[in-house]
Amino acid sequence: MKDIREDIAWAQINTDVLKSLENPRKLYWVILLIAIAMVGVAVGCEIYQYNVGLGVANFSNPHVWGLYIATFIFWIGMSHSGTLLSAILHLMHADWRKPIYRFAEAMTTFSLMTAGLFVAVHLGRVWQVYYALPYPNWRQVWPNFQSPLLWDAMAIFTYLSSSILFLYVGMIPDLAICRDNMNPGWRKKLYTALSLGWEGTDRQWRNFRVTYLTIACFLIPLAVSVHSIVASDFAMSQQPGWHITSFPPYFVAGALYSGCAAIITLFIILRYVFKFEEYMTLSILKKIVRLTFAIAMVWTYLNLIEYASVWYGHDQASKDVLIQKAIGPYAPFWWAMNFCGSIVPFILFFKRYQTHIPVLFSVSILLNLGMWLERWMIVAPTFSHGYYPWTWDHDQWPSLVQWGIVFGSFGWFTLLFMVFCKVFPSVSMYEVKEMVYHRSQATKKLEATGKMAAAGKGAH
């Protein structure tokens, strides 16, 4: 099974991908409306919460954080998919990433935008969120740069803007293709403006190649540091169950895991909807599935080693938190997390299921469910059984307001992604052409050496 058919005509690639930009069918509008309705639910909940106060989210002392922080981390985690595919696999010359990295990068950008919303929703005084920005003022009051939450703000800003730039710069040749093939209208104007007059000259390509590589080199440490910084929200505190050295790599592994699972989900959807079977081939799906399995094992290891280190230490408070996770009020969710995160990926181990679309679709959603639960299980149990005995033995569950906003965030992401898929090419046309070109060149070379060898004229 080949990653891509080597005799695909380049013109065909253009046609197939540009077809995805045509006017959408009715189903698209239906789903879009559902997404907008979901966002409406979240907006309604937030307006209620904004006016009345965070008490409606069912927070209490000491349980001051809940689903907002958990889902925030979840969305940041999902954003690592694009960077993984774009940057890491690019540096490893894994060209099978080429048909799929465009939508993965879009996923990164929109996940970050969704995560940013949660920062706002979570605050008690949202209207003063700008206090966290370092702007000069007469009182010389600056934000507190020691705070991991502030590092979050800086890191996410950096990551979001870098992702958008990377996505855009990488899209310029494709935007030129769109410009060249559109009838006059708003689309043509948009693509003409955005493609910056790209014509594929030698000078443009040389600089493009170097820039792409350079930004990819920066994006990898950035992605690692962003999620490490988010992990620092917990690791830099003293609370039992949080002050764990392995949290930064654990979170990064969880992020890559989340991202890969989400790529599988969106891969299956886009392949079906836009009929991209030639480009998003089952062979590539298989590679992503295997990668997901590998990352699942990394995450499982880091998860288990965290338990092991708690067991080894004499820190009674941390031990108690771990025991509480297993048998306390959150136990069903914790066990579900471990099941979804560590057991379910073994389905991906079997060749039979590695290209079985329905199984993969459900498994990828279960994996992401496991990852969302993981974030919640990091936040909640430490509050329910911290250092101070007076704070124990209370039950605290998120209210419908919290669930509503979490629910709506998925609608927001879907909305952004669906609009993206209809305005911008979700498969990178020029890179697929490169993939086809280089692979056919490689095959030709192999055949040539093979023929020479067969004819008795060994190449060496």
Binding site: A9, W10, A11, N14, P134, Q140, W142, N144, F145, Q146, S147, W151, M154, A155, T158, S161, S162, L165, F166, V169, I172, P173, A176, I177, D180, N181, L196, G197, W198, E199, G200, T201, D202, R203, Q204, W205, R206, N207, F208, R209, V210, T211, T214, I215, F218, L219, P221, L222, S225, I229, S232, Y430, E431, K433, E434, Y437
Partner: protein, 176 residues
């Protein structure tokens, strides 16, 4: 004599390479192979770069400058703001602590690097670019274009070279 543009489209890189070699070797009046010829293609092409010769790509200098200045700016901005006139202590830690400042310096190092790289790319690649007088959508599809600029008199010679190497299409700028 006024300059005219010609655009020739070819099927693959080998033909384009042959044309470029010939254009370089032949002396044509009013035509300088280095300055008056631009190769356009749908994908990036280390092979073309090889036969066109090495041209310096300066984007990474921008990257270096951007990253270093981003990091330094961040460190001094942050430390300076922490060392302001009321210098409030937080958590018993030093007023200007290194671990948090390092984290933010690192982030801004990357931010500076990425932003200035993009800026450098736009500057070095000359984007946004004015559109060429001759362009074909096939260049973004599957054909390689060579745009040349020469005196009117030489256009015949150039067309002959193009045709010899199986040009699929030759566009000529309309007379003035």
């Amino acid at each position: 004599m006024s300059k005219r543009h010609l655009l020739a489209l070819f099927n693959n890189f080998d033909e384009a390479e042959a044309v470029v070699r010939e254009l370089r070797s032949v002396r044509i009046s009013g035509f300088d192979a280095d300055k008056d010829m631009i190769v356009k293609s749908p994908i990036e092409h280390p092979e073309v770069e090889e036969f066109l010769g090495d041209k310096p790509v300066r984007v990474q200098w921008y990257t270096l400058g951007g990253a270093l200045s981003g990091g330094l700016l961040a460190f001094f901005l942050i430390s300076g703001s922490q060392a302001n006139f009321f210098a409030q202590m937080k958590g018993g830690k030093p007023i200007v602590p290194f671990p948090p400042n390092f984290v933010l310096t690192y982030e801004m190092f990357i931010l500076g690097g990425v932003y200035i790289s993009v800026l450098g790319f736009l500057i070095c690649a000359g984007l946004p670019a004015r559109r060429s007088p001759l362009y074909s959508a096939k260049v973004s599809e599957d054909q390689i274009g060579i745009l040349v600029q020469s005196d009117e008199a030489s256009s015949g010679i150039l067309k002959a070279i193009f045709t010899k190497h199986r040009a699929l299409e030759i566009q000529e700028e309309a007379g003035k």
